[in-house]
């Protein structure tokens, strides 16, 4: 395989609108809605981190929305997905409650984790999102276990793990890849390769920048795509998803090459950025997954500028309303500290 990302890592490349190819554009209107909604929600969170209203650490995925949504388009509520520290987008893309997310980052009792977890611990079982945790690499084997359960259940579900390029440096990642591969489990590994682990560029952490080379070593089907091209993300998974649903699918490794626009944690874009970041950011904004999809939908006539404007304003309203509501939610009673540790 090619051990270099070549143009996929190039901030100046892939600014053009997305090509639908054989894909039907219509479902991507809904996908655009999801992406814009995620972005607005994270912008709202960023603002409130900036003002200090939100106090828990928030790792935002602005700029990376296509990976989450493109993957989620293939998932169903009986699948079981797991995320990491930067998982607002995964949670929302799978249908997690916006109200619940906002309440959670504010530490309220109506938050999705009832104020016990904050931004880094989100779950929504009802839509198949089984939890995100900030220990890097820790949820990867857990997703493999969900895949094992799916294999036993024989209902065509899949276990899903969302993680970053940094997580591929943890032993847990490799042990998990091997286990899923040797047991041929229905597990989707989604690596959002944004080329940074906090401040450190991948070139300082790994000898090559293509994470999918590990899928080769673990003898796993895989694809490396432009993670800012939602059609590419979606297309890469079509066959694997069909196989899972047919009950015949094994593991698949998807590498979505992308870039985060904000700092590792928090709301600023000029902080904890590390090597080679500052120069790249404005170029990377040219590869904006949201704008590119919107333009493509306009080009093929699936979404007019007017419809887009309506969509955006409806989303802005929804986000504003949800935020206002979240601010009114009650805090948990102090007794919750002890009453939620053990099963009743």
């Amino acid at each position: 395989m090619n051990q270099s990302l070549t143009s996929l890592a190039d901030a100046k490349a892939h600014h053009e609108p997305i090509a639908f190819g054989h894909a039907d554009p219509v479902p991507f209107v809904q996908a655009l809605h999801s992406m814009v909604r995620i972005r607005r929600a994270e912008e709202c969170i960023a603002e409130n981190v900036a003002t200090g209203v939100i106090k828990c650490p928030c790792h935002l995925a602005i700029g990376q929305e296509a990976a989450a949504v493109g993957v989620a388009m293939h998932l169903r509520s009986t699948d079981r997905a797991f995320g990491a520290h930067r998982s607002h987008a995964h949670f929302l893309a799978m249908g997690g409650s916006l109200d619940g997310l906002f309440a959670e980052v504010l530490g309220r009792d109506t938050g999705v984790s009832r104020g016990m977890g904050g931004s880094m611990h989100l779950a929504a079982k009802e839509v198949g999102f089984y939890g995100s945790v900030p220990i890097v690499g820790a949820s990867i084997p857990i997703a493999v276990g969900a895949g094992l359960a799916a294999q036993m259940d024989k209902k065509g579900d899949v276990g899903v793990s969302f993680f970053g390029d940094g997580a591929a440096e943890e032993g847990s990642f490799h042990e998990s890849m091997n286990l899923a591969s040797v047991m041929n489990l229905p597990v989707l590994f989604v690596c959002e390769n944004n080329m940074f682990a906090s401040h450190l560029h991948i070139s300082l952490r790994q000898p090559k920048n293509v994470v999918a080379r590990y899928a080769v070593a673990h003898a796993m089907a895989h694809a490396t795509v432009d993670g800012n091209d939602i059609v590419a993300v979606w297309s890469a998974l079509k066959d694997a998803a069909a196989a899972w649903r047919a009950g015949t699918g094994g593991p698949f490794f998807l590498e979505a090459v992308t870039y985060r626009w904000l700092g590792h944690v928090g709301h600023r874009d000029d902080q904890d950025v590390g090597v080679a970041r500052k120069d790249d950011l404005s170029d990377w904004k040219g590869r904006d997954p949201v704008r590119r999809l919107a333009e493509s939908l306009a080009t093929v006539g699936a979404l007019s500028p007017k419809e887009l404007a309506a969509m955006e304003s409806a989303i802005s309203d929804e986000v504003a309303t949800a935020w206002a509501k979240a601010l009114t939610q009650p805090f948990p009673d102090p007794s919750a500290l002890l009453s939620r540790v053990w099963a009743k």
């Binding site: 079981r80 797991f82 938050g111 999705v112 984790s113 009832r114 104020g115 016990m116 977890g117 611990h121 779950a123 079982k125 089984y130 939890g131 945790v133 220990i135 820790a138 949820s139 990867i140 084997p141 857990i142 997703a143 493999v144 276990g145 969900a146 895949g147 094992l148 359960a149 799916a150 036993m152 259940d153 276990g159 032993g171 847990s172 042990e175 998990s176 091997n178 286990l179 040797v182 919750a336 009453s339 939620r340 540790v341 053990w342 099963a343």
Partner: protein, 329 residues
């Protein structure tokens, strides 16, 4: 007249597995060595033949992945039992056990269940040395959200495995290879609730309280017989459930005898024995009347050479000596 059939601790564990696999379709087992004829003593013999390799799964040498997979399957409605043939190997998966499984319910608001059993086998002695002899129950009993069980008898070995598997929270079940030859007549296996597991008085005496768990309960019972021959009657309390601790019976016994010797097969500092003593000492009415002492491993890694092993591992004789000192005789 029917002959009494006794079951060994090792076989009783197997009976527990067999009960679970037969009665509970969501139960399954995974771990290293499960298809081996010798890896985990006689505690799992031929389970994979009886219940199939889909439910008794041998795995690569990957403690983190195996343990994490147990969590994922538990979150998906299964009741996995992840077997680590030695506590030392299990230590590689500490993050999964302590930072993931034990905290998952609380972190997500109280409603997410991780009905996972981790079986960590205490397998020491035999000149295996420092990296094959750790038990570290004190570590795990320190962690909120993680039940810790240590069976001392064949009956408990079987029933606690069942209770652990039926529990909706993660449970660390630690059996001890040094107990495998203990024998007992067992009633048929039944479902057991972890809520019913509490410390048990295994012998009644008025002069001194001996507290232990797992293998040290066996030693305490032996020591109690030796002490009885010397006119000292020991109350022997088997802790059984190390986390969350239920110290009431210990306190009742200590108040009665006025002397408490805690025996624990782990290191001393910040250990289980310290906890039991502190629990007494911080209660003014107990502190006033109870003399305390503890026996633990010396502050050294386990050695291999036989004479050093003898210096490292205490015996019933050591308990007798310390008990007599505490009784002033």
């Amino acid at each position: 007249m029917t002959a009494t059939v006794k079951t060994s601790y090792g076989v009783a564990i197997r009976d527990g597995f067999a009960h679970l696999l037969a009665k509970h379709p969501k139960a399954f087992v995974m771990g290293q060595g499960l298809w081996s004829p010798w890896y985990v003593g006689n505690s799992m013999t031929n389970l994979e033949i009886e219940f199939g390799k889909e439910r008794v799964i041998d795995v690569p040498v990957s403690e983190v992945a195996t343990t994490g997979a147990g969590i994922g399957a538990a979150l998906s409605g299964y009741r996995p039992i992840v077997v680590h043939p030695r506590v030392d190997f299990m230590m590689l998966a500490v993050d999964q056990i302590v930072t993931q499984a034990a905290k998952w319910r609380s972190m997500f608001g109280g409603d997410m269940s991780v009905p996972l059993v981790i079986r960590g086998i205490i397998n020491r002695g035999g000149e295996q040395g420092a990296q094959h002899s750790q038990s570290l129950q004190s570590w795990f009993a320190h962690i909120p959200g993680l039940h810790v069980l240590m069976p001392a008898t064949p009956r408990d070995a079987r029933d606690m495995l069942i209770a652990a598997t039926l529990c909706d929270d993660p449970v660390l079940y630690m059996d001890d290879r040094w107990c495998y030859e203990l024998e007992e007549e067992l009633p048929p296996a039944e479902d057991v609730s972890i809520n019913d597991i509490a410390p048990l008085r295994r012998r009644t005496g008025k002069d001194i309280t001996l507290v232990g768990c797992g293998y040290t309960t066996k030693l305490n019972l032996e020591a109690a017989e030796l002490l009885a021959a010397q006119g000292i009657e020991a109350d022997v309390i088997d802790l059984r459930l190390l986390n969350p601790l239920k110290p009431a019976l210990v306190h009742e016994s200590a108040a009665k005898t006025g002397r408490m010797l805690v025996v624990d097969g782990d290191w001393r500092s910040c250990g289980l024995a310290a906890e039991i003593i502190a629990g007494v000492a911080e209660r003014p009415e107990l502190r006033a009347v109870v003399h305390c002492a503890r026996i633990t491993h010396p502050d050294a890694p386990a050695p291999t050479s036989k004479p050093l092993e003898q210096a490292f591992y205490f015996t019933a004789a050591d308990i007798v000596r310390e008990a007599r000192t505490l009784c002033g005789r």
